[in-house]
C-alpha cells in the first residue's frame, strides 16, 4: 500500500512538473498604405503558410498597418489554438475566412505607422507568453507618420524575432538605392538595439525557413 502511494505521488509530481511550454506566438503586420495595398494577396499567401505551420496552443494575430496602428482595432484576426486537433483545424479555417474578408475589403491608408504596429505586436505577444515570439512585418518599411503621432520611443524586443517580408523597392529607391539600404539598416539597428533579432525575407517562394 505504501509502495502504491509512493508510486502514485511520483506520477502526480511528474505530471504536475513536466508540463512544458514550447508553443510559439506570431504577430503579422500587414502594410495597407498607398500602393503597397496591391501586395496584399502575397500577404494572404504568407498568412496561410504561417497557419499551416502553427500547432496546438500557438498564438497568431494579423494586424493592419495604417495611420495609427497602436490599437486593438487594427487587429484583423487573432487566435490561440486549442490543444485538440479537430478544434485546431476549425480555428484555422475560421482564421483563414477572417483574413479573406480582410483582403477583400481592405482599403489603402494614407500613413504608415510601423512602430505603432510593432508596439501592439510586442504587447500582444508578451500577454500570451509564448516560448518563441515572432513578429512578421509585411511592408516596404517606409514609415510615414501623421503629424502629432509620437513614435520615437524605445521598444523592448528581447527574445523577439522580427522578420521583414517582401520589402519592395520604391520608385525613389530605384533612383537612389542607398535609401533602400539605409532604411533596412536603420530598422535592423533599431531592432537589434532593442534586444531582438532581425531578418529580411524577400523571396516568398522560399518560406520554408520562415518559422
Amino acid at each position: 500500500m505504501k509502495l502504491f502511494s509512493a508510486l502514485a505521488s511520483c506520477l502526480l509530481l511528474a505530471s504536475c512538473g513536466a508540463s512544458q511550454s514550447n508553443n510559439s506566438g506570431v504577430y503579422m503586420l500587414v502594410d495597407t498604405s498607398g500602393t503597397y495595398r496591391e501586395e496584399i494577396q502575397k500577404a494572404e499567401q504568407i498568412i496561410r503558410y504561417t497557419l499551416s505551420r502553427l500547432d496546438a496552443t500557438d498564438s497568431f494575430a494579423v494586424a493592419r498597418i495604417d495611420t495609427g496602428s497602436f490599437s486593438e482595432k487594427d487587429i484583423v484576426a487573432k487566435m490561440t489554438f486549442d490543444d485538440r486537433p479537430s478544434m485546431i483545424n476549425r480555428q484555422k479555417r475560421l482564421f483563414a475566412e477572417q483574413v479573406q474578408t480582410f483582403v477583400d475589403d481592405s482599403r489603402s491608408s494614407q500613413y504608415t505607422d510601423i512602430t505603432g504596429g510593432l508596439l501592439q505586436a510586442v504587447e500582444f505577444l508578451n500577454e500570451k507568453k509564448p516560448a518563441a515570439k515572432t513578429v512578421l512585418i509585411f511592408s516596404d518599411l517606409k514609415e510615414e507618420l501623421e503629424e502629432g503621432y509620437i513614435r520615437d520611443i524605445s521598444i523592448e524586443l528581447d527574445g523577439f524575432d522580427v522578420i521583414a517580408l517582401n520589402v519592395t523597392k520604391l520608385r525613389s529607391d530605384n533612383v537612389d538605392p542607398r535609401e533602400y539600404l539605409t532604411r533596412l539598416d536603420e530598422w535592423q539597428a533599431r531592432v537589434e538595439k532593442s534586444g531582438g533579432s532581425w531578418r529580411v525575407v524577400n523571396d516568398l517562394d522560399g518560406l520554408e525557413g520562415l518559422l
Partner: protein, 472 residues
C-alpha cells in the same frame, strides 16, 4: 649517468666496475631473490587457482540449479500433457463408452433377430413323394395275379408323379422365397452390427493410441524424475528452441502493438489534449500506451482464467465459478477496450480528412472533397484493425509464458558459460604466473652466467676432490 661513469677517470673501467659490483650483488642475493620470485609466482598461482575453484564451484552450483529448474519445468509440462491426455480419455470414455449398455442391448437384439431369422430360414426337408408307396404296391403284385392292369397303374403313377413334382416345386419355390426374404431382412442387421462394432473398434483404437502416448510421456516423466542426462539434454535444447521461437513471436506482437499505438495515439489527443507532457512524453502517447498495456494485461488474465497459460497460479487455483466470472469480466473489458479502439481509429480517419481539407484550403486548393467512394475502405480497415488487434494481442500471453520460462534456462546456460570461461581463464592465469616465476628466475640467472659457471666448476672440483679423498 655521468656520476656512474665517473667513479674512475676511465668511463669503461667505471662501467666494468659497476657491472662487476652489480653482478656480485645479484649473485649474493640470488637465493633470496629466487625464493622471492618463486614465492610470488606460487602465491599468484594459488590465488588464481582458488578463485578458479571457487568460480567452478559456483558454476557447478548454478548448473545443478539450472538442471533442477529445467527438470521441474519439464515435469510440470509433462504433468500438464499427461493430465490433458487423461482428460481426453475421460472425455472419450464419457462420450462414447458411457452408452455401452445401450450398445450392448442393441447388439444383443440384433443378434437375437438374426438368430430368429436364421431359424426360420432353415431348409425343411421335403415330404417323401406319394408315388413311392404306389411303386411298392406295384412291386408287390404277384405275377400270377397277372399284370394286365399294370399299364394303367403306371400311367396313374406317372400322372401322380408329375403332379407331385409340380406341387413339390411350388412348395420349394415358396420356401426358398421365404428364406431369401428372411435373409434379406438380416442384411441391415448385419450392417448395423458391423457399424456398431466399427465404432467401438475406433474408440478402443483411440484409447489404445492415447495409452501409447501416455506411456511415452510417462516414460519421459520417469526419466525426468530420475534426473537422467538424456532428459536434461532434451529439455535444454527444447528450451533454447522455445526461447527463440517465442522471442520471434513476441517481436511480431511488438510490431502489432506499435501499429495499434499509431492507430490510437493521434486521436487520443482529442481526449487528453495534444500538448501536455508527463515526464517529457506526450500525455496522449502515454494514454495510448496505457490502453494497449491494459489490453495486454486483460488478455493475460483471460488466458490465465481459461487455464491456457499458468503465469499466475492464484488465478488458476480459483474456484471454477469465480474463474468463469473472471473470464466474462476480462472478456467484457477487452471487448469494451476494442470498441474504444475502433472508435478512436474512426476518429483518426476523421481527423486526417479534416486536416487534409484544412491544408488544401490553406494551400488555396479550395475545399477539396476527400470523401471519395473508396475512402470507406480505409476507414473500415482502420476500425477493423482497431477492433481486432486487442484480441490478437491477447494471444501474446502464450509466447510470453514460454519466453519467461525458457528465459530462465537460457540465462542459466549463459551464466554457466560465462562462469566456465572465467574459471578457465583464472586457471590459465594462475598457471601462467607460476611459469612466469620460473622464467623470471632463469632471466635473473642470465647476467650471472660467469659466477654461476665458476661456482659450478668449484663445486665439481670439490666433489672430485672429495671422491679422491674417500678413495684414498
Amino acid at each position: 649517468m655521468n656520476f656512474f661513469l665517473s667513479i674512475t677517470p676511465w668511463p669503461v673501467l667505471s662501467a666494468l666496475l659497476w657491472i662487476v659490483l652489480v653482478v656480485a650483488a645479484l649473485y649474493f642475493a640470488r637465493p633470496t631473490a629466487h625464493k622471492l620470485i618463486l614465492a610470488a609466482g606460487n602465491s599468484l598461482h594459488k590465488m588464481f587457482r582458488t578463485a578458479s575453484v571457487s568460480v567452478a564451484g559456483a558454476e557447478s552450483g548454478l548448473a545443478n540449479r539450472n538442471r533442477e529448474v529445467l527438470l521441474a519445468a519439464g515435469r510440470e509440462a509433462k504433468e500438464r500433457i499427461v493430465e490433458r491426455e487423461f482428460d481426453r480419455i475421460n472425455e472419450t470414455v464419457r462420450k462414447d463408452l458411457s452408452n455401452y449398455s445401450a450398445l450392448h442391448r442393441s447388439l444383443s437384439e440384433s443378434i437375437g433377430r438374426i438368430e430368429q431369422d436364421h431359424k426360420d430360414a432353415v431348409d425343411v426337408p421335403p415330404d417323401p413323394p406319394g408315388w413311392v408307396k404306389a411303386v411298392e404296391a406295384v412291386a408287390n403284385i404277384d405275377s400270377r395275379e397277372g399284370r394286365v392292369g399294370i399299364g394303367n397303374v403306371l400311367s396313374d403313377i406317372h400322372k401322380s408323379l408329375v403332379k407331385a413334382h409340380k406341387e413339390a416345386m411350388v412348395m420349394y419355390h415358396e420356401a426358398s422365397g421365404k428364406r431369401h426374404e428372411l435373409l434379406r431382412k438380416m442384411r441391415p442387421e448385419w450392417r448395423q452390427i458391423q457399424q456398431t462394432l466399427g465404432k467401438v473398434g475406433k474408440n478402443v483404437d483411440s484409447l489404445l493410441n492415447r495409452s501409447v502416448t501416455i506411456d511415452r510421456h510417462m516414460q519421459e516423466y520417469e526419466d525426468m524424475v530420475k534426473g537422467e542426462d538424456r532428459a536434461v539434454s532434451i529439455l535444454s535444447s527444447s528450451s533454447l528452441v522455445y526461447f527463440f521461437v517465442s522471442a520471434l513471436v513476441l517481436v511480431v506482437a511488438l510490431g502489432g502493438a506499435t501499429i495499434n499505438f499509431s492507430l490510437i495515439a493521434r486521436p487520443m489527443a482529442e481526449m487528453v489534449g495534444g500538448t501536455t507532457l508527463i515526464g517529457g512524453f506526450k500525455t496522449a502517447d502515454i494514454a495510448a500506451l496505457v490502453i494497449i498495456m491494459v489490453e495486454i494485461s486483460m488478455g493475460l488474465f483471460l488466458m490465465e482464467s481459461l487455464r491456457i497459460t499458468r503465469l499466475f497460479p492464484v488465478i488458476g487455483a480459483l474456484p471454477d465459478k469465480t474463474r468463469i466470472r473472471m473470464i466474462w469480466i476480462t472478456f467484457t473489458m477487452l471487448f469494451l477496450l476494442a470498441s474504444v479502439e475502433a472508435g478512436l481509429a474512426y476518429m483518426r480517419e476523421v481527423l486526417l480528412h479534416d486536416e487534409l481539407a484544412t491544408s488544401a484550403l490553406l494551400r488555396g486548393d479550395g475545399d477539396v472533397a476527400l470523401s471519395g467512394d473508396y475512402m470507406w475502405i480505409t476507414t473500415a480497415a482502420q476500425m477493423g484493425m482497431g477492433f481486432i488487434l486487442p484480441f490478437a494481442l491477447t494471444f501474446v500471453a502464450i509466447p510470453l509464458e514460454t519466453f519467461v520460462h525458457s528465459l530462465r534456462t537460457v540465462i542459466g546456460l549463459l551464466a554457466i558459460g560465462i562462469l566456465r570461461f572465467l574459471s578457465l581463464s583464472l586457471r590459465l592465469l594462475g598457471s601462467g604466473f607460476r611459469y612466469l616465476g620460473v622464467l623470471c628466475t632463469q632471466l635473473y640467472d642470465l647476467p650471472l652466467f660467469i659466477p654461476l659457471w665458476w661456482a659450478a666448476r668449484e663445486t665439481e672440483n670439490a666433489a672430485s676432490a672429495k671422491t679422491s679423498f674417500s678413495e684414498i
